[in-house]
């Protein structure tokens, strides 16, 4: 990456794999369980978090020298909540359809531990540009796992991707269903998200032994 120094590039690439917020830091699991039954929801959530974490990290970083340490968590919470509500209101006024798709995520974004985690761990101690990169990197790492989980859950749970049937019609018995394949309804329930995340963690750690904790 020519634009970014090596150190800055690492801020983005690290959270994608070796320091992934979900599989390594084990943050943001709650929303990963809740909304990954569909690929589309996973993508929308990823983009929302990308925006909120990128901008939020910059705001917190700019304020880092004036935030009283005693109430810093409350300040962080107020910043996230404000950002999310501003986005929600503007979308409601100018992109109503999109805001309806997002409505369910608004609450989930505010409570996403990755956001508070990055504010606390990074933005409070670093400049705005580096905080921005860190936010984008972590949100991308989060989104990557979310989309991966959403892909498998929607494919095996409903036999569709982005709502489009890819395995044939389960009622008319065409495509794969003609030879006896059945959708696994269990994939649509939250516990399977945890199991899929667990499988990803397993694959990741078996490929890179350095990630295994004692």
């Amino acid at each position: 990456m020519g634009v970014l120094s090596k150190k800055d590039a690492k801020l983005i690439s690290d959270p994608l794999l070796d320091n992934n917020p979900i599989t390594i830091q084990v943050l943001g699991i709650c929303s990963a369980l809740a909304i990954t039954a569909e690929l589309e929801a996973s993508i929308v959530m990823s983009i929302s978090v990308l925006f909120v974490l990128g901008v939020g990290n910059v705001v917190i970083s700019l304020m880092r020298n004036i935030i009283p340490s005693k109430i810093r968590i409350i300040v962080q919470l107020v910043v996230v909540a404000t950002l999310v509500i501003i986005v929600d209101q503007v979308l409601k006024a100018y992109a109503y359809e999109l805001s309806k798709t997002l409505s369910v995520f608004v609450g989930l974004i505010i409570t996403n531990c990755i956001i508070m985690g990055r504010f606390e761990a990074f933005a409070l101690g670093n400049g705005p540009w580096r905080s921005f990169l860190d936010g984008i990197g972590n949100a991308a790492g989060y989104g990557f796992i979310l989309i991966l989980v959403g892909f498998f859950r929607e494919l095996f749970g409903s036999g569709t991707l982005l709502g489009i049937p890819v395995l044939g019609d389960p009622i008319e018995k065409t495509g794969l269903y003609a030879i006896g394949y059945e959708n696994n309804g269990f994939m649509l329930l939250s516990p399977m998200a945890l199991i899929v995340v667990g499988l990803i963690i397993w694959v990741q750690r078996s490929r890179n032994k350095a990630l295994i904790e004692d």
């Binding site: 039954a37 300040v75 107020v78 209101q89 409601k92 006024a93 109503y96 609450g107 489009i164 309804g185």
Partner: protein
């Protein structure tokens, strides 16, 4: 050395300042965007009603409304009358036409807040029931009633288009925060289309409602008089909410439909 930002006085001042600034921004934003949001919500209600009447831009399995830009005109030309029924103690006391209601309250009947009317019914026993009369694309006259209830997480609501016999001709369901992929699928065409043709009354005119049933013996939904549609796997409570709102809200309209047959 104590940091400047560690002082109690600084902390309190910061907190007060933050609340004022954030509160100011949000209040300004909310009041400046309110007209645009209200307009969007109005158009959405019109789109919902048109959808129940079978007027939509559906593509494949996803429900698509008619374009927002043409909605007000389309609504005006399709929905020919909006009645307001005053319901009290199991009876319809009064039936007002749209113009009469607008003259009395200054509000369009389709903007009647169903949630508010439901709580009025609980406290006073009286409530307004809006009913929209329009023609579907085949020219058949249908009656659209709004319904509202509770899903798993939050409110669910919908519009049901009925013919004179109270046979469902089209529905639109929506929700505030049901789980994506599970309860949120009540607004998918495959679920909503299952209601088409379902009977609400039995042969003798007794209101049966429609149950969203698990373990349905009729997954392809060919039997239209079993008062059941197939549930969505993993969305039991949302489905129960749909059953409940249909039974509770639509039953109130039965006296009106009886007058149509006379």
């Amino acid at each position: 050395m104590e940091n400047r930002t560690d002082k109690n006085s600084y902390t309190i001042l910061f907190a007060i300042g933050m609340v004022v600034v954030v509160g100011g921004i949000l209040a300004f934003l909310a009041s400046s965007l309110r007209p645009a949001i209200a307009q969007n919500e109005k158009i959405e209600k019109q789109q919902n009603i048109l959808y129940a009447l079978g007027i939509n831009n559906n593509e494949g399995s996803s429900a698509v409304f008619v374009d927002a830009a043409v909605t007000p005109n389309k609504f005006e030309s399709t929905v020919t009358e909006q009645l307001v029924l005053t319901f009290k103690n199991g009876e319809i006391m009064k039936t007002q036409a749209r113009q009469e209601y607008v003259d009395e309250t200054g509000q369009e009947p389709y903007l009647i807040d169903v949630k508010k009317q439901q709580s009025l019914q609980k406290t006073t026993g009286e409530r307004k029931l809006p009913l929209f009369i329009g023609k579907n694309p085949n020219g058949k006259t249908l009656y659209v009633a709004p319904i509202r209830g509770k899903g798993l997480w939050d409110a669910i609501w919908g519009y049901v288009a009925l013919d004179e016999e109270m046979v469902v001709q089209g529905v639109y369901f929506d929700h505030k925060g049901e789980t994506p992929g599970l309860g949120a699928n009540i607004k998918q065409t495959y679920f909503m289309d299952d209601f088409k043709g379902e009977h609400l009354l039995n042969d003798t005119g007794v209101f049966k409602g429609i149950t969203v049933a698990k373990g349905n013996a009729d997954p392809k939904n060919e039997d239209k008089t079993d008062y059941e549609v197939d549930a969505i796997a993993g969305a039991t409570i949302t489905g129960d909410g749909v059953t409940a709102m249909i039974k509770k809200d639509l039953a109130l309209y039965v006296p009106y439909f009886k007058t149509l047959k006379k």
